[in-house]
């Protein structure tokens, strides 16, 4: 599975510009799905199974976009000013390397780093080695992702964009392993989550599911001096979301998910996330409302170029997702 994860995290795909990662995911899915389509906002929707007696139409959403940058101005000396796509901290930019969609590479620089002052994105610039505006290959509106290779630390993995490519990998793996299901399952590799859950909103409207699950990363509370105490930790299993700041998971679904994890002997932890949102909200608010939940992967250093997850959590998340999708869903 690690080679799949490496492939996914190293393919660029900032929000709104997911075509390369979409192609990569489509290639990985191959024939594992019964059908596959792309909607108006670029969501990749792979469908498997047919609804039988107790079956439901189920949507599983893992977002395939990542945070990135967009050029806003090229100055006379060929330096590129930029804005962020999604939540990017200036602190994790400085000294970073970027990869534009056309293959142009660059580094992020800053003049006069003042130790006492938080830099703003507008203090930073991208240097692609150009000397003038004319020889700069980048135009205003061009998009880049961060560039950082995948790193395997054994039990732990480090990469950029594990948010949310780790969930994409889990969804692909679950799709491959899902041999029988009473449900019609729609695996959505959604777009534009980082800028406001946009892809999942329109995908959910189109699919009109009976129930939905997001798969996403969540914060960990197991590092030194966390800003707020949080009960999640790497290695304690996939997290079952109770709420985050975007939505409240359907409590019937939460209880059912807990029961399934316990029945299958899969370790799990409960998650209450105070800052952050997921595609679960978009699913819940679609049309007349949809019961929605979320399987989370606890992740350290989210939105930095070095996000970290636990390999066992990832394996267990696949097991949990396969279990959830293979059983009749009972909401009471």
């Amino acid at each position: 599975m690690k080679s799949l994860i490496q492939k996914l995290v190293e393919t660029p795909g900032p929000s709104g510009f997911e075509y390369k990662i979409r192609d990569a995911i489509r290639e990985e899915i191959g024939n594992a799905a019964d059908s596959i389509r792309v909607d108006a906002l670029g969501n990749l929707i792979a469908t498997k199974g047919t609804k039988t007696g107790v079956g439901m139409r189920v949507m599983v959403s893992a977002h395939m976009d990542e945070i990135g940058l967009m050029a806003t101005h090229i100055d006379d000396n060929g330096f590129i000013r930029f804005t962020s796509i999604g939540g990017v901290s200036p602190l994790t930019c400085i000294g970073g390397r970027v990869l534009f969609m056309d293959g142009t590479r660059g580094v992020i620089g800053m003049d006069g780093l003042d130790a006492g002052k938080m830099p703003k994105l507008s203090n930073l610039f991208i240097d692609v080695g150009a000397t003038t505006k004319e020889d700069c290959p980048v135009k205003v509106g061009d998009v880049c992702g961060f560039e950082r290779p995948f790193m395997d630390l054994g039990k732990r993995m480090v990469a950029k964009s594990l948010d949310d490519r780790i969930a994409a990998a889990i969804a692909i793996e679950a799709l491959r392993q899902l041999k029988s299901t009473p449900h019609e399952v729609h695996f959505v590799f959604s777009t534009q989550e980082e800028v406001g859950l946009r892809g999942a909103s329109t995908a959910a409207y189109g699919i009109d599911p009976d129930v939905g699950f997001a798969v996403d990363v969540t914060r960990s509370g197991d590092t030194p001096h966390p800003s707020a105490k949080m009960a999640t930790a790497l290695g304690d299993g996939p997290a079952i979301k109770v709420r985050d700041s975007s939505f409240i998971a359907d409590p019937r679904l939460v209880d059912w998910m807990v029961k399934q994890a316990e029945a299958a002997g899969i370790p799990y932890q409960m998650e209450v996330l105070e800052a952050g949102g997921t595609d679960g909200r978009a699913i819940q608010m679609a049309r007349g409302g949809v019961p929605a939940g979320c399987v989370s992967i606890v992740c350290r250093y989210i939105h930095s170029p070095s996000e970290m997850v636990d390999s066992d959590d990832v394996e267990n998340a696949v097991k949990l997702l396969v279990k959830l999708l293979g059983e009749p869903i009972i909401l009471d």
Binding site: R22, A40, G42, H73, V140, T202
Partner: protein, 366 residues
């Protein structure tokens, strides 16, 4: 009053004296978010003989359809918002003074010492400020809070003004050389553009025009309009700030201008609410190059247009925004170039003429 313009050849719409007169009427009308009545009446009057179908929906949006001819017509929604930022009277005090709240994003530093018009009868009023003689140095370091400002309608005002009445800046439309100075150019420029496009609607498409309400309070009208129209694609036509001013330091380069006057229509790659569909961004840029119409890419960043609501409706609607650059939006007096408006109109018309089903046949990608 109006300026003579060079008449350019071709079938595309132009800006002449009648267009400027319409814009003047639109800008001088009062249409604070939630109270778009006056603008709606002007729009309905202008389009009643042109559009094939016109209706006013539950929120007050004017939805007008102009059908094209032939097969395989793409359904293109064009949106411009009728509402503007302004004020609501919230409390009556003694002596003809009224407390008010702002509606939409207004910097309260823009308010003291301004003339306003209140209510359907456009009653004149002023927002005063304490005489400088009576202020202290430390007072002058702070902005005058909204809660201390009043609209003064004169001591004899009676029951003709009630709490809940809306008000706007009193600025009257004016031509200054190559420019227009007016309130509410954001987005009456767009409204006027849509009316012209309805009048010159290309026949290869079905043109679905939404004159939308409540953009300034959360892109609300456009959302339901898009739901009703269910278009194949959408273009929001708005006015966006041009911060093309000098920076405070002598040698500093202004790298945050958003847009520039005289650089033509501003095409959005991304703002805070939408990442423009690359297929539509490319359509506009290619059209500009091939037709020799200037355009600029608005500096990507924050802010938002009605496209932010439209593109998320139903199963998703490929959308992009095009804006006429304008200085000093959301203040008493904005300023835009007539030539930028005309180039926006020309670019949109030329681009619409090129819209064919194959534009959206492939997946969203560069």
């Amino acid at each position: 009053m109006t300026k003579k313009l060079e008449v350019s050849a071709g079938k595309s719409p132009e800006i002449g004296s009648s267009q400027l007169e319409l814009l003047e009427k639109l800008c001088n009308a009062m249409g604070v978010s939630g109270d778009e009545h006056e603008v709606r009446q002007i729009v309905l009057e202008e389009i009643k003989l042109i559009a094939d179908d016109v209706k006013v929906d539950a929120l007050g949006n004017v939805l007008a359809t102009k059908f094209g001819r032939g097969e395989d017509r793409v359904r293109v929604m064009l949106d411009a918002h009728m509402d503007e930022v302004g004020f609501m009277i919230v409390k009556k005090h003694e002596d003809g003074l009224f407390q008010f709240e702002t509606v939409g994003g207004i910097d309260e530093r823009q308010l003291p010492g301004k003339a306003v018009l209140v209510g359907r009868d456009h009653l004149p009023g002023v927002i005063g400020a304490k005489p400088i003689h009576m202020t202290t140095a430390s007072e002058r370091k702070n902005k005058i809070p909204l809660s201390e400002l009043r609209i003064d309608l004169g001591p004899e005002i009676g029951d003709e003004v009630q709490q809940g009445d809306w008000a706007t800046f009193a600025t009257q439309f004016e031509i200054l050389g190559p420019s227009i100075k007016a309130k509410a150019l954001d987005d009456r420029l767009g409204v006027a553009t849509l009316i012209e496009l309805l009048k010159h609607a290309p026949e290869n498409i079905d043109l679905l025009a939404s004159f939308s309400v409540q953009e300034e309070v959360g892109l609300r009208g456009a959302r339901v309009a898009a739901y009703t129209f269910e278009p194949d694609m959408a273009i929001a036509v708005d006015s966006t700030p041009a911060y093309d001013l000098p920076t405070w330091d002598v040698d500093g380069e202004n790298t945050l201008y958003n847009t520039l006057l005289d650089a033509g229509p501003a095409i959005y790659a991304m703002d805070g609410a939408t990442i423009g569909d690359p297929r539509l961004v490319n359509l506009l840029v290619d059209t500009s190059e091939e037709e020799g119409i200037p355009c600029q890419i608005r500096q990507p960043g924050g802010g938002g247009t009605d496209a932010g609501a439209i593109h998320k409706v139903r199963t998703g609607i490929p959308s992009v925004s095009v804006s006429i650059p304008g200085r000093y939006a959301h203040t008493a007096a904005g300023l835009a170039r007539i030539s930028d408006w005309e180039n926006t109109l020309r670019l949109l018309h030329a681009a619409l003429c090129r819209v064919a089903p194959d534009l959206l046949a492939g997946e969203r990608r560069d």
